[in-house]
C-alpha cells in the first residue's frame, strides 16, 4: 500500500461526501468537507504509517459518507424551513424528516393534508368557471359535505375534494360512494369562500409546520430543562 493509494481513497471518500451533500449551500458544504478532511488527516498522522487498512478503518469510523451527508442535509433543511414561507420547501423538509422518525411522519402528514386542503380550495375557485355545474360545496346523504367536484350522477354519486361527515369522518379525496341526490350550497358565494379557506389552510399549515419544526425538529428537548 502506497501513500498514493491512501490519498486516493481519502479523496474518493471526500468526493462522495461532497456529492451526497447535494443542495446544501456551497459555503456550508465546503466547510463540512474541509472539516472532515482535517479530521481524517489528524487521525492518520496519529497512526503512521498509513497502510490501506489503517486508512479504511479511519474512514469507516467517520461513517458512511452518504449517511453522514443525509444527516447534514436534514439538519440544513430543517434550519431553513423554520423561517420559510414556501410550501414546497416545508413539504420537502417534512418528507425528509419523516424518514427519520415519528415526529417527522406526523409533521409530514399534517403538512401534506393542510396544503392539500388549500390546493383543493384554490382548484375549486379555478375550475368553477370551467365546470360550473360540477364544482361546489355539495351536501349529500347522511350530512356528508364535500367541497369539490361532483361526478354528475344521481346513483353512485361521488364527490372528490375535501369531504366531511359529522361527527367524525374527514377525507381528502372522497368518502365512499353515496346513493341519492346532492345539493349545492354556496352558489355565487363559492369564490369568496374557497379563496378565504384557501388562504386560511395555507397560512395555518405554514405556521404549524414552522412551529412544529422549531419545537421538535432539532431535538430541542433541552428547552424543557430551563
Amino acid at each position: 500500500m502506497s501513500a498514493d493509494n491512501a490519498g486516493g481513497s481519502i479523496k474518493q471518500y471526500l468526493v462522495r461526501l461532497r456529492k451526497a451533500l447535494g443542495d446544501v449551500p456551497s459555503t456550508e458544504r465546503d466547510e463540512i468537507v474541509e472539516e472532515i478532511r482535517s479530521h481524517i488527516l489528524e487521525r492518520i498522522e496519529a497512526q503512521e504509517p498509513a497502510t490501506e487498512q489503517v486508512v479504511n478503518e479511519i474512514l469507516r469510523a467517520v461513517g458512511d459518507p452518504k449517511e453522514l451527508a443525509s444527516q447534514y442535509k436534514t439538519e440544513a433543511l430543517l434550519r431553513r424551513a423554520r423561517t420559510s414561507q414556501s410550501p414546497l420547501l416545508l413539504l420537502r423538509t417534512t418528507l425528509r424528516w419523516a424518514m427519520s422518525g415519528l415526529a417527522g411522519v406526523i409533521a409530514f402528514l399534517v403538512t401534506a393534508v393542510g396544503y392539500g386542503c388549500a390546493a383543493v380550495c384554490y382548484l375549486c375557485a379555478l375550475l368553477k368557471p370551467v365546470f360550473p355545474a360540477r364544482i361546489g360545496l355539495w351536501l349529500g346523504p347522511e350530512h356528508t359535505m364535500t367541497m369539490g367536484y361532483w361526478n354528475g350522477r344521481i346513483s353512485a354519486t361521488e364527490v372528490y375534494g375535501i369531504a366531511v361527515r359529522p361527527p367524525a369522518s374527514f377525507a381528502l379525496g372522497t368518502l365512499s360512494a353515496t346513493e341519492g341526490p346532492v345539493r349545492e350550497l354556496l352558489g355565487p358565494w363559492l369564490f369568496p369562500v374557497t379563496l378565504l379557506f384557501g388562504v386560511v389552510f395555507l397560512m395555518a399549515t405554514t405556521r404549524f409546520a414552522r412551529w412544529f419544526i422549531g419545537k421538535f425538529g432539532q431535538r430541542r428537548s433541552r428547552r424543557s430543562l430551563g
Partner: protein, 127 residues
Amino acid sequence: MSKSTGEHSDGWEAQIRKGCLELAILSSLWKNRLYGLEILRTLEGGSGLGLAEGTLYLILNRLKAEKLVDSEWVDARSGHPRKYYWLTESGKERLARMARFWVQFSANLNALVEPVLGRKEVANVRR
C-alpha cells in the same frame, strides 16, 4: 427471549447515550478551546458515549447554528488547518443549566436504583 430483552436494553442504552451527547460535547469545551479530534478524545476517555466520528461534527454544526459554540480555523504546524471550537456566553449559560439538571436527575435515579445493585456495587461503578 433473552435475545429480545438484550436488543431492548441496547436500544435503551443508545437512546440515553444520544440524549447525553450534547451535554458531553459542551462540557468538554467548558475549560478549553478544542478541535474535533480533541473533543472526541476527551469523550472517549471519560464517557463511554461511543460516537460515530462524523456525527460529532454534525452536532458541533448544530450547536454552532444555535449559537451555543463558535469556531475558527487555525493553521497548525501539522500543515493543515484545524477548526477550534469554544463555548459562547449563551452556550455557557445553557451548559450550566444542563449540568445542574443532570446532577440532580442522576442523583435521584442513583438513589432509586441503589436497592437493585446494592450500595457496594454503585460505589464501585462511581469509582
